[in-house]
Amino acid sequence: MFQALVNPDRFMAFSRWAAPLLGVIALVLAAAGLVLDFQAPPDYQQGYTVHIMFIHVPAAFMSEFVYACLGVASFLSLVFRHALATAAARAAAPLGAGFTLLALITGSLWGRPTWGTWWVWDPRLTSVLVLFLFYIGYMALEAAVEDEAKAARAAAILALVGLINLPIVHYSVVWWNSLHQGSSLLRAGGPAMPAVYLAPLLLMVFAYMAGFGALWLVRIRGEVWRRRAAVLAMRAVA
């Protein structure tokens, strides 16, 4: 499996069928998740807003999952200088930012009816907000440095520094929250998750992951083509 991803040509062949397959899996899982989602009875406590949970929790999970992928790709790109890892890191960042933005918007829409304010300084939402700033910093750095190879390495270093800081940020925000306002509703543990909600939730999480997998592979293919075009164009000039 790893061998297929290391060599660019073999990766292109592998991703050629893997990407659409993951896309289809994502659609199927999402459809199943939504069907179960809208059959579930409204939650006695949150009422109908519980349905937002089915698209907020997967997005929040993906925002961190993608950052972990970004960190691993950056590490491989920095240490092994592997062109594919660099392409993977570059391709992952915008997707991660997208999921993080989704998590923030759906989180705020979920918090609004229960808390009465558009933005709720809940520890999980605040961590997602800081994570969003990490993504913005990553993409800003990559865009600002002129030389592409140097931009990729600088951004990879920042991604690793960010990855190390992520758990610390989580902890500091949770500690900060305990200082200011008691516990909160959206805590990961939260009220026990009724079984009827667990199935759709898991389906949606796996749907998001499969979807991300498909998009990531396609974006990496795009990066590989972009680099090939750049190299060929340069050689034609040389």
Partner: protein, 204 residues
Amino acid sequence: MISAVSIEGLGVARGDRPLITGFNLALEAGEAVALAGRNGAGKTSLLRAIAGLIRPSGGRVVFRSGDAEIPPEDAIARDAHLIGHQDGLKLSRSAWDEVLFQVLWSGGTAASARSACARLGLTNLLGLQVRKLSAGQRRRLALARLAASPRSLWLLDEPLAPLDRDQRAVVGELMAEHLAGGGLILAAAHDPLPVTARPVEIGG
């Protein structure tokens, strides 16, 4: 103490564009080589690759002391000078502060710095701010560490460009003494070096 440098199949690229491929060169103690080639051929990148600042895309550089091989980082950090296009001097500081730092940093002493400055005719400029010095004077400040800090391998990139005729003569003497003492010089230059040097073409 580097006594020989052998470059084996070195490849240097800028971004995706290969500048130099399969470059070979053997440099022995007491020998000077002049790198020639049109601008952009990669002379500067080659020197920076030998100095370890740029990662070569292929091949390797071997430093030997006698017949023992020295790891490149130690060889460069302890026993090589790299003088690039820029002089690395802070405009707001005094000439003496800057040249003293450059000399101490490359292993010289305050005394050797003062004598090197005297040799290069810089003594009465040392109190001035670097901002007030001409390009030639600044270049000589940067070259002072060659005389003040004993290092065997000199990697020079257009070292004499801003200097006038008799200043070049002084630097020529320094080079001759360095070669006589078993030193090695690898210099990129358009006009010929003031010492006898083996010409090597880059990117022909």
